[in-house]
Each structure stands twice: as C-alpha cells, then as structure tokens.
C-alpha cells in the first residue's frame, strides 16, 4: 500500500551528507566515463564501485525492487534487439571471428559479438545504481538547487522539485478517489474486461485531474504572492555548502573519467578493449 517510488528518505550516511550538486556532477561525470569507454575491465571496476556506493547509502533492495525489474527488462530487450539488428557488429569491431555456433542465415553467435554485448550490459548496469543513489539520497529541494547549479533554469528546476514534492499527495488523492468510485460500483480488479478497466480508470483520472488543477492554481498563487519568478536568479535555502568530502567525491569522479580516457588513448589505442589480438 505504501508505494514510495522515487521517494527520498533521510538517513545519515556519507552519501546523504554530500551536497546534491556533488552527487549530480559525479553522476554525470561517471556516466560519461562509462559511456565513453568500451573496456570491460574499466566498466567492471565502475560497476563494483557503484554497488559499493549503493551499500554505503544504506539503500535496501525492497526500496528499489520495482526499478531494478524494469531496468532488467529493458536491458534484456536491448540485448536481444542488438543481436537481431547487428549480429556481426562484434566481428566488425574487433576484426577477428571466433564462431561459437550457428543459428540460421546470417545469425551466427560469435565470441566477439558476445563480448561486445556483455560489455554493453555492464555499461548500463554500472550507471543505474548511481542514478538510483542520486535519486534516493537527494531531497527534492536540494535536487532543484543542484539542477539549477549545473545551469538548468530555476523555474524548470523548481517544477521538477514541486512534482516530487506533491507526488505523495497526488497518490493519496488517487487512492481516495479510487475508493470512492469503487463504492459506487466501479470494478477495478481483474474481474473486469480490459476495455472496461480502461474506461473505469478514466473515471478516477478525471476527478484526479480536476482536484490536481485546483491544487496547482492554489500553489501558483501562493508562489506568486511570495515573489517567485521576480528575478533572473534565485538562491536556495537548502543548498549545502561544499565541504572537503564534496571536493574529494568530485575529484574521484573526475579521476575515474580521466582513467577511462587514458586507458583508451595509451593502452587500448581506441575506445574498445580488444582481447582477440
């Protein structure tokens, strides 16, 4: 009953203590690093690193189970599609051909293709825990402050934070409305036909939209009355001052990024690590 998707919960861990700006910058830098490199040794290193961060932030599996499932489904689909559309891409990349077995037509499983695709899976796998850490350990207002800090216009940043802030309340409205409509006879369980369920969902969504619009008008008045949007810039109450650990975290992320570039330039000679020659 307590669906708390993306909800920030305050714990006192080193990760929570970092400023939102640090977390956003580190997340972006590390994402670039991993996206740039196709060296599985480096990527595995980042994967392990991000799982450790996940542990340090004391995020429980139960909190993120739903997200993980969606991500796994996405990765699986991506894996299959990559193979369907470009079964020979690995061979092309690495310049050798070690055929494992043949399926049919042009679909042959090669060691090179397998290696390429596994590298790609880990590329996704290594950044997703970092994204989760960022979302779950940054409170919405600080999140807005940090978005604004990296150059996103503050009105956009504030809109994002307000959405996160009011998410639980809209969930509560949804629940109330849904119960009241069920009392009037709406069948929301699997007993109803799919088309009916869609129609029935509409009967909850319409009142939800109207009550949400009411809320939005109210808030926007409250914000106008207190001078929101007056100047080109604004400051943030919840902005944390950068501390030594923030600098260390940013430095560490930049170093990791540098390592990724250096490995490509000096060791692999390209973005790809080629174990086949």
């Amino acid at each position: 009953m307590k669906l708390k998707l993306f909800s920030y919960n305050f714990l006192d861990t080193p990760i929570h203590r970092l400023s939102g700006l640090t977390k956003l910058v580190s997340f972006l830098v590390l994402t670039f690093a991993v996206m740039y490199s196709y060296d599985i040794r480096f990527i595995l290193f980042v994967t392990i690193f991000s799982v450790i961060i996940l542990k340090v932030a004391k995020i429980k599996y139960s909190q993120i189970r739903l997200m993980i499932i969606y991500v796994l489904i996405f990765i699986a689909i991506n894996f299959v599609l990559t193979f369907l559309f470009a079964p020979e891409y690995g061979v092309e990349l690495y310049g050798t051909r070690h055929e494992l077995f043949r399926i049919f037509g042009r679909y042959n499983v090669t060691l090179e293709q397998l290696f390429y695709q596994i590298t790609k899976v880990f590329k996704y796998g290594s950044v997703i825990p970092l994204g989760i850490v960022f979302l779950l350990t940054t409170d919405p207002s600080e999140f807005a402050a940090s978005l604004n800090g990296v150059g996103v216009p503050y009105k956009v940043a504030y809109a994002v934070s307000l959405t996160l802030r009011y998410f639980p309340e809209i969930q509560r409205d949804y629940r109330n409305i849904s119960q009241a409509q069920q009392a009037r006879g709406l069948e929301m369980s699997k007993k109803a036909k799919f088309a009916d369920r869609f129609k029935n969902a509409l009967m909850i969504i319409i009142p939800l939209i109207f009550s949400t619009i009411e809320r939005v008008e109210y808030i926007s008045n409250a914000m106008d009355l207190r001078g929101f949007g007056k100047l080109k810039k604004r400051t943030w109450y919840s902005k944390k001052k950068l501390t030594t650990s923030d600098y260390i975290a940013i430095l560490a992320s930049v170093l990791i990024f540098a390592v990724s570039v250096l490995i490509s330039v000096f060791i692999n000679g390209s973005r790809f690590y080629n174990p086949f020659i």
Binding site: D139, R184, R234, W236, Y237, S238
Partner: protein, 572 residues
C-alpha cells in the same frame, strides 16, 4: 488629522473578464496603518475578490476590468507588479497545507528570500530570527506532515513576515482548522498585531471565532458593495448580519431568544465585555420557561461496531478498540482533532480498509465479507471535496453512474434519478452540466449520486466546510429532511455549531479511541473532553456562567431544544 491611509479604495469597481456583472461595485474604503480590520460577508459577496485586489492577484493573476483607483502606500496598484506589492502586503492563504511550498519549515519561511536572491547564509540567519517571532525556531527542519494545524499557520505567517511587510492579509484563516486550533490562530494573529503594530486585515465569515480577540473595525460586504463599516459592538447589535446570512455569535442569538434588546452600549462584541445588568434576569426567566422535549422513541440498532482495531502501518493504531451502536434514524456527529481517526473509521465502515480485528454489524449481519461495492448499498460515503467524486460532465450521468455500474436497466434508472434529484432540490438541473453549478449544488449532486443507491446510512465528511451560514443552513436543513425520511446520518465535522444544533448525539475521538459518546451539550461543556479532543467551549457555556446559571450543560441543552422547536415550527 490621522496619518495617510495605507490602503485606499476610491470609487473602485472590478469585473472579471469571465463574468457579465462586476464583482465589486463602487468601493470606497480607507485602511490606516496599524489598524486591525475584519472583512465579513457571505460566499460570493466579493470579499475574497477584495482581498485579491489588495494583494495584487487582481489584476496580475486574475484578469478583469478596473474602474476607479486603489492605492497601497500611495502607489496606484494597477501600475505596479505583484512582486512589488508582495513587499508591502503579505498574504496568508486559507489552506495552510496548500501554500506550503517548501519541504521543511525553514525552507518554506525562506521562500520569499530565495526569490530575492538573498545569499544562503544570510537567509538562514533571517529565517531563524523570524521563526523565533512565531515560536517555530526549534522546528526548522520539520516537514509539513509532522506539524499541527497551528504550527502550519505559524509557519505561513513567518513566511510572509520575512519580507517585513506593512500589511498582513489573512484570507479565511479559520477555514480548515479544528476549533481549538482556530482559536489559537486568532491569538497568534493578535499577538503579532500587538508586537509589530502592522496593519492586519482578516477576511472571514466565522465572525464569533474572530471576535475571540478585539478588532478595530468590521467591514461588511454583500453583493459586491460595502454595506457597513462599523465597530464590532455596533455591528453585533444591528440586524445586518442576519439579513445578509452571516452567522451572529451564538450567545447573541441566545440573548435575542430571551427577548433582550441588544444595543451597542452593552458592549456585546465579546462575552468578556458584555454588560450583564440588563441580561441576567430575562435570560434566567427564558431558560426556566423552556419545556423539555418529549423523548423520541429510538429505532432498532442499525449499525454496531465491536472492538474495531485498525492500523495502516502495523505500528500505530489508527483505530483502537472502537465500539458503538447507532440506531435507525439517528443523526450523529463524530468529532475530534485532525488525525484522531475519524476518517479512518468511516473508511473501515465503508469497507475501503479492512479492520485488523473486531466486527461491524448491519442489523444482526456481520458485514466483513461484503465488498466495497456491496457495502455501498448499505452505507454511502460523501467525501469532503465534491471535485474528488464527480467524474461525469452531466448531472444526470453523474447521478446515474452507480446504477449503470450495477447494470440496472436504463428505463428504471431515469425515474430513480429524477426522484433523487427532486429530494435534493436539483430537479430543474437534471440536464445541466455539472460545471454550471455552485459549490453547494455540486455537494448536493454528490449526495444525490450516493443516495440513488438507497443506502440506509450515509456518512458525510465535513458537509459544511467552507460554506457560509446561508449555505450551511441550506445543506443542514436538507440533511435533516433526509434524516426525517428515515436515512441514518453520520457527520464527521469540526463545526461545533453544527454538532450542537443538528446532532443530539456526538462521538468524540482522539488518537484512534473513543473518548466520549454522549449528547452534544455535554461534550461542549466538559473541559477535559474539550482539551483532549481539541474542541472549544461554546460561548453559551460562558454566557450561562456570566449569568450565574448553575447547570450550564442544561442551559446549553435548553438552548438547543428551543432552537429545534423553532425550526420545527418554521417548517409547518
């Protein structure tokens, strides 16, 4: 000569672009620095519009046509922008939840400073100072969900005071508060007025509650015009309030029933100042003359709750061993502070939530196994906000929805809908769109859409919230009529008048438990109950005290009996 007025309306008329007629006509009003002003008027009188003019939402957020001038601190409003005005007029809106923009108290107070680009450190300093003025400095890191209603009010107040505004405007500050919190809110406003000597404007129709502390002047608005601008004593002793449908203080009503001619030199605006010399004797005579009503026969027990216990999270009990019996044809109220378990109880009764232990009986049948849909045919629930219930564009479709979903043949639906709409006084609107209705009418549509399923019991959550006296009376008379037709009615309410006047019996809840189950007159005169449940003594109680009437509970009860008798006679 007095100082220059801080707010000055001259021949001011305003018409919303979306409306055919002006909402405010020919307003001439001067408000001087340091004054404390109350603006009263029924719903739709234009009092909120007047407030919007003062804080700049008109013409900046709500567009319309302005004639005449409005000057604030000698600046012509139409030539300013809303931001400049927000530095002069600070507005505390009605719903302290809705206006909470920050995630914590500190952040919310800081909102205006953030928009002014104040550096973060300096901002923390100012926030601490202002929070201390309203005693919130120890709660800066709390989230709005952890605060009581009074604390939210304090936070909102601090949020507008960071700007060092000259005028504080309160737009229906009492609307969503329980009685005790409302009383505190009025005290907070008064304290701030005394401490800072800012100009205070309160827009509110709950006159008696605002007059808990002094105000300098009351402006009465009706149909877009100022019809009175006088001292509280003068207003209370005039007949203006009853004419326009704003409720007069209850003790004044009692004085009038006793045949006392209320005049302004009796200082009747507050019970503290009321001169009793010409009051005591006639009041006592009247009190003794009221006959006790014949006790009505109770019907059979229709609903029994037996040791109901329920928890949302498995830790805190939202309902703790709740037991009661309700008789057929009763009209009762359930009262208690926010979070006391009133709404949870109604959800468990309707089957939205399943109790962890205990049972609910409808007559003799245990209804545990009835689904939400099946229970709705016995117990209907009308939610507080009609917009959360209405899902069809047309009134007819909305009311027919419950029947259609139950596969009732269409030719049977029409007469049933017609009948229900007739009961609810909505027959002329049967083919109208819902959007054409007023708030009170929408409320009746939601009641109709529940009633059409023929439930024997209806639960209404705050049926009169945000309604002025006229609409309040209209809704309550309607519910009373329904009740007479045999529907058992349970009201969840904060409104002490409602409980006193319409429901002979009240269940008082606190922390998920039933504190008391007794008559309304007992509840509102028992100081222990009042404190624990965040209620407020009725002014009748103090009136009785001042008149040296010993049995104050009996005095309150007699008053109710007298009023009920009056209502009965009016109907016939």
């Amino acid at each position: 000569m007095r100082e220059r007025p801080v707010i000055e309306f001259t021949d001011f008329t305003f018409k919303y672009f979306t409306q055919a007629e002006p909402t405010l006509y020919d307003i001439n009003l001067k408000i001087y620095p340091g004054e404390k002003i109350l603006i009263v008027g029924p719903s739709g009188s234009g009092k909120s519009t007047l407030g919007h003019c003062i804080n700049g939402l008109i013409p900046f957020a709500y567009k319309g046509e302005i004639q005449g001038t409005l000057k604030i601190k000698d600046l012509v409003v139409a030539e300013q922008n809303i931001f400049k005005l927000s530095k002069i007029v600070g507005t505390v809106l009605q719903d302290s939840d809705g206006q909470f923009v920050g995630l914590t108290v500190g952040e919310d107070i800081a909102f205006a400073l953030e928009n002014d680009n104040v550096p973060t450190e300096e901002m923390h300093e100012i926030v601490r100072k202002v929070a201390a003025m309203v005693d919130m400095d120890k709660l800066l890191d709390s989230s709005p969900y952890e605060l009581s209603g009074g604390q939210k009010q304090r936070t909102s107040l601090a949020g507008v005071m960071v700007d060092d505004v000259d005028v504080l405007l309160f737009d229906e500050p009492l609307a969503n508060l329980d009685p005790a919190t409302g009383k505190t809110a009025i005290e907070i406003i008064d304290d701030i007025h005394k401490k800072t000597n800012k100009t205070i404007i309160i827009i509110e129709h709950r006159l008696e509650d605002v007059l808990h502390r002094d105000v300098d002047r009351i402006i009465v608005i009706n149909e877009g015009q100022i019809i009175a601008d006088m001292s509280p004593d003068e207003l209370v002793s005039s007949s203006i309030l009853t004419q326009i449908g704003v409720r007069e203080p209850l003790y004044i009503t009692a004085l009038k029933y006793a045949g006392i001619n209320v005049t302004s030199d009796m200082c009747p605006s507050s019970l503290n100042t009321l001169k009793m010399d010409t009051v005591t004797e006639p009041l006592k005579t009247w009190y003794k003359s009221i006959e006790k009503p014949v006790k009505e026969e109770k019907g059979p027990v229709i609903l029994t709750a037996e040791n109901l216990t329920f928890s949302y999270d498995g830790k805190r009990k939202a309902l703790d061993n709740v037991s009661f019996k309700i008789h057929e044809g009763e009209m009762i109220s359930i009262v208690g502070r926010n979070g006391a378990g009133k709404s949870t109880l109604s959800k468990v009764l309707c089957g939205f939530e399943q109790q962890d232990s205990g049972s609910i009986y409808y007559y003799a049948e245990d209804i545990r196994d009835r689904s939400i849909k099946e229970r709705a045919e016995i117990i209907g629930l009308v939610m507080q906000n009609p917009n959360q219930m209405i899902s069809k564009a047309m009134i007819y479709d909305e009311v027919a929805l419950g029947l259609r979903l139950r596969n009732v043949p269409e030719d049977e639906i029409r007469p049933r809908v017609q009948k229900v709409l007739e009961i609810c006084g909505l027959s002329p609107f049967i083919d109208w769109p819902v959007s054409a209705l007023s708030f009170g009418q929408k409320k009746r549509v939601t009641i109709a859409s529940i009633l059409v399923l023929n439930p024997k019991i209806i639960i209404l959550d705050e049926p009169t919230a945000g309604q002025d006296y006229y609409h309040y009376t209209e809704i309550m008379n309607f519910l009373e009529k329904l009740n007479k037709m045999g529907v058992t009615i349970i009201l969840i309410t904060h409104d002490m008048h409602l409980m006193l006047e319409y429901t002979p019996r009240a269940i008082v809840m606190s922390d998920g438990e039933i504190l008391a189950d007794t008559s309304a007159s007992v509840v509102l005169t028992d100081s222990r109950l009042i404190e624990e449940a965040n209620l407020k003594e009725t002014s009748l109680y103090y009136l009785a005290e001042k008149a040296n009437i010993e049995d104050r509970t009996a005095f309150v009860q007699r008053f109710i009996d007298y009023e009920r008798e009056l209502r009965k006679n009016n109907e016939t």
